[in-house]
Amino acid sequence: MTTTQYRVIGSRPVRHDGADKVTGKAIYTADMKLPGMLSGFVLRSPHAHAKILSIDTSEAEAMPGVHAVVTGADFPNVEDKIADLGEGSVNLAYLSTNCMAQKKVLYRGHAVAAVAATDVHIAEEAAAKIKVEYEVLDSVTWVLDAMQDDAPLLHENLLTDSLGKKAETPSNIPVHMHFEKGDVAAGFAEADVIIEREFKTATVHQGYIEPHAVVADYNEDGRLRIWTATQGSFTCRQQTAEVLQIPLGNVLVTPCEIGGGFGGKITVYLEPTAALLSKKSGRPVRITMTRADVFEASGPTPGSYMRIKLGAKNDGTIVAGEAWLAYDAGAYPGGMIGPGCMCVFSCYDIEHAVVDGYDVCLNKPKTSAYRAPGATQVAFAVEQLVDELAEKLDMCALEIREKNAVKEGARRVDGPVYPPIGLEQCLDALKQSEHWNTPLEGPHRGRGIAAGFWFGCGLKSSAACTVNSDGTINLLEGSTDIGGSRTSIAMQLAEVLGLEAEDINPQVGDTDTAGYTDVTGGSRVTFATGMAAYEAGRDLQQQMKTLAAELWDCSAEEITVNEDGSFSGNGNQLGFKELASQLFAAGEHLVGRATVSPECPTNGFGAHIADVEVDPETGKVTILRYTTIQDAGKAIHPSYVEGQLQGGTVQGIGWALNEEYFFNDDDTMANADFLDYRVPTMLDVPMIETIIVETGNPDHPYGVRGVGETPIVPPPAALANAIYNATNTRMTELPMSPPKLWKAMQSDPSAD
């Protein structure tokens, strides 16, 4: 437990970009306007799976106002090269043909051509005049169907990879993973109670309110400037450069303010297309996706099929686990099966376990990360089985979790051993909470709990701080700010230097000015970029010690940086600002800098409590009360930590109760809008109570753990457990929407 008293850390200053964002001044990508800018429109496939026989763009090109048309033919041929994007890697041929289809379309919404015109309406009309001849193919959107031998093949040469070994015949299964720990057969033999169930979850979308948008300006000198809504400007630069086959240094990516991402704004979709339209037209081009495009053609997160078995002894010890997981990859390989497999048993210390996981291609948009990618699906399954074991063993749901919770030294199913972690502390906080200790009364009501985990990664971050003549600081960092991270990073710099948060002027740099920084994702920004800011502050202090030594006529070793950030030595003492001003006046100007690449997962654990009431006549679930508990290590800005917990929880609630991709008979999406893709409205959720546990992370100077992702993991499971306790009906399918819950209650004879 950290006990250090901080001045800035743990306080709640107003965010630095706040005034811009409440007055409408903040510039998001779609707000960008460059002289001569054209508007782009992307023509997309109406079919889920088809061969492109021909594309005729002549009529569109001839339309007044149209300046350029591009198709797959304008894209350079990229080989099957794997590009490392910092977090995860990508096959460039897949990335490129996902941006613009070449010979085949693999999902409804797949881009086939794009137009740039003086007005978006003209571009849209022109796109409608492009004649694409398709040969429609059989399609598949359910993961188990796609795994069948006779399923329509998306990629003719795709061979299943089992850790370096390729299958002999093509299929829709790019990857099979397998993990094993202990002796599973012996484990189940030891068990007194065994429960096995199948679970299904629907494809869901991150649902950020800002549609993808980009402005590209391809200069005559070959320099490409891009303004975009991205979670990672450097990753965006690399993907764009690789797809276009141009040098990295020719691309400048400027991240605009970004209207939500949650993992969905890492992959490029529009950037290469906008760049090529700009190159052809000689004018800057802006493209924004429509909301339907966002649903149909960006990257939702996998639907899944899971078969999971758990065995426990009479004393409640879970001794064996077995999981068979198949996750949608979408149209191209590379879904979230890896973390799914690694998270399935991540909360429990199970001696004997085996996991098989399959990444499966099917005719849906290529999936991408969504807050703790792959973990929510498995938590939905396992956390229900744990409750069932508890019920069979006549234990309390909390007790069985306390008994089996992972702690330092426990071995994960994929091998590594946990360092100090905070699941036990979260469960303890749950046990002590007012919510848990307040009985829930009334008919058709139930309470459920669930635990959750996400790794949280480190990766590369950079920060540079320039000292102004009055001792205030301009901080330049490279993490695109989606939720107030400028401030949580600046606060760490303020803390180390003995300044106030307001003394720091943080700025998110572009790829020409900021040091290399990986994506805003993986719960890493406050942890890793905060660490970079801290180190940049330390660098500054070292430089100031050397310079102060001259000023004070002593050696640098004689100068101490005190806890409040002041400097003392040789009988002198000055605060940071005062010393900085004196040094500036003496002709020195200072820039502190740091690059870090922490490689340790920050291991974020959480536990949630949900109270629900179920309408027995309609199957509609009302959430009466909800508490989210999480180990933040150390909360830098508690309001924004609470905000991450509350926001992630409500996304998890949406996933649990109503969100799903609904497909027509022809495998096209039937609900590509916010009307029928039902994210929670304000009226659908209660206040989300939060309890921040602070166990301190030994791998960070202030003890920070990543917090952003874990909160989405437990809600579907906590709500399923609550629904069971309210209705006696086990829901094994997401979403637990009214028609499904009502039907399940009808068919479950034990239900109330």
């Binding site: 910092g86 995860g88 070994k165 991402g261 340790c600 992702e709």
Partner: protein, 87 residues
């Protein structure tokens, strides 16, 4: 000696042996020795001479991105696991 865990999908090469002790100062030495012990090992986990991008090496709670040049301590525990990112 570092303890190196053989990924379960590669135990077909190691005759089912789940882990081995190896004296090495970096991942490259480990991979080379494993390939000598269990021919074909390197081919399964490497691409273009480095650890395949779909994998990462876990060394004592560190998930390193340094691949072959990552340092290994005398009592380190080493795993080859899938690379993961996040949202």
């Amino acid at each position: 000696m570092a303890t190196v865990f053989i990924p379960s999908q590669l135990r077909e090469l190691s005759d089912g042996i789940p882990s081995v002790e190896i004296d090495a100062k970096n991942v490259r030495e480990i991979v080379n020795q494993l390939d000598e012990m269990f021919p074909g090992f390197k081919e399964r986990i490497c691409l273009d001479g480095d650890i395949a991008p779909s994998l990462q090496v876990s060394i004592d709670n560190i998930m390193t991105s340094r691949g072959m040049i990552a340092k290994v301590q005398p009592h380190s525990e080493v795993h080859f696991i899938p690379a993961i990112g996040g949202g």
